[in-house]
Symmetry: C2
Subunit: 208 residues, 2 copies
């Protein structure tokens, strides 16, 4: 199989410019060049690395230097990714906050009452469990959780309250069986996951 730039490009989902650039910086060289100068490709191990989203410089190190501590680099990269996600989540809550306030401009009075309600709930929560939760989890997370709650719509809030009760109900069943992997326990886990979804920054996505 002889791949030209475009063929490999389509196959790997990158532009021809990208491949030429990779050639230029000695990241992914074509297997050979024709007399006409056309690049001919054969392998594509590097594209796998690219999929991991590593910085090109690092990829070069890993590819060229076997003594380079791969795992260490990956761990490092993982840390970076996690940090990035933290930032992203912060952005998301910020955006959601802005949307909420923008949407609520018309019925501000009601909204305010509702917010006060939630605020109180949060304050109670903080007072009682502040130290213990904040010591276990980073402050950022607690703040995010609170922010998320304050930005809930009233509908979301209702569901949140409802779930809380359901969780407790299901727990009763789980206790009866005493089996962590039981039907009831699993169901509880699912419910609790939903419940946490309201306060803790995690996916709220559902299949439509």
């Amino acid at each position: 199989m002889e791949y030209t730039v475009q063929k490999l490009g389509n196959l790997a989902g990158v532009s021809t410019r990208t491949l030429r650039y990779y050639d230029e910086i000695d990241l992914l060289k074509p297997a050979r060049k024709r007399s006409s100068g056309y690049r001919i490709y054969g392998q594509q191990q590097i594209l796998f690395f690219r999929e991991l989203g590593l910085e090109l410089e690092q990829i070069k190190n890993i590819v060229n230097d076997r003594s380079f501590n791969d795992t260490c680099a990956l761990e490092e990269h993982r840390e970076k990714l996690l940090a990035k996600r933290m930032q992203l989540d912060l952005l998301i809550t910020n955006v959601e906050k802005t949307i909420s306030t923008k949407e609520g401009e018309s019925t501000m009075a009601d909204k305010e009452k509702f917010r006060g309600f939630k605020q109180k709930l949060l304050e109670d929560n903080e007072q009682q469990y502040d130290s213990e939760i904040r010591s276990e989890y980073s402050n950022d997370l607690v703040d995010q959780s609170n922010a998320k709650m304050l930005n809930m719509s009233e509908g979301q809030y209702q569901k949140f309250i409802g779930l809380e009760q359901q969780v407790l109900d299901r727990l009763a069943d789980a206790i009866k069986t005493g089996d962590p992997s039981s039907d009831a326990a699993q169901n509880t886990a699912d419910l609790h996951r939903q419940w946490l979804g309201f306060t803790w920054t995690s996916y709220k996505q559902k299949s439509t």
Copy 2:
């Protein structure tokens, strides 16, 4: 309050270069300039927008053009952020997977047994709850959850199992009181959050 570049920079968490750049592109102009040329700042609405991570071009639009549909743009932006995070999580699981396989090269035999164990657990789980979970949550999430479990280290797995039991123990207490906001229930929530942290892609960060 007269803010110079650095003061505002520290306050807003951006560099002086950034502020000068914003001035240059007419994004955030200082309130005035002293005879010496020093930039003096007063307001910082734009910095708030910057926090949202919007592209500068868009921010300019929002700031300058009132008729620009703010909320719509924000929603759009939110979608983008969510998509970005999905991608990020994919990268993270990929990296974790790579790390796991790299680490396990020495004791592959044991690891394989261990993996088989987890695999079985997953299969059981899938068979029983597949449809119901997959209908409630996007397939991606379920897959990610499974992938995460498969990539756990043995140590993590042990802790995971331990937590499962603890959760159930605490639930018993919670049930006794019957109060969702009780100490025991909150504690349970905390434990459960940890437990979910093992399987569901969410923060596992703790304050050091």
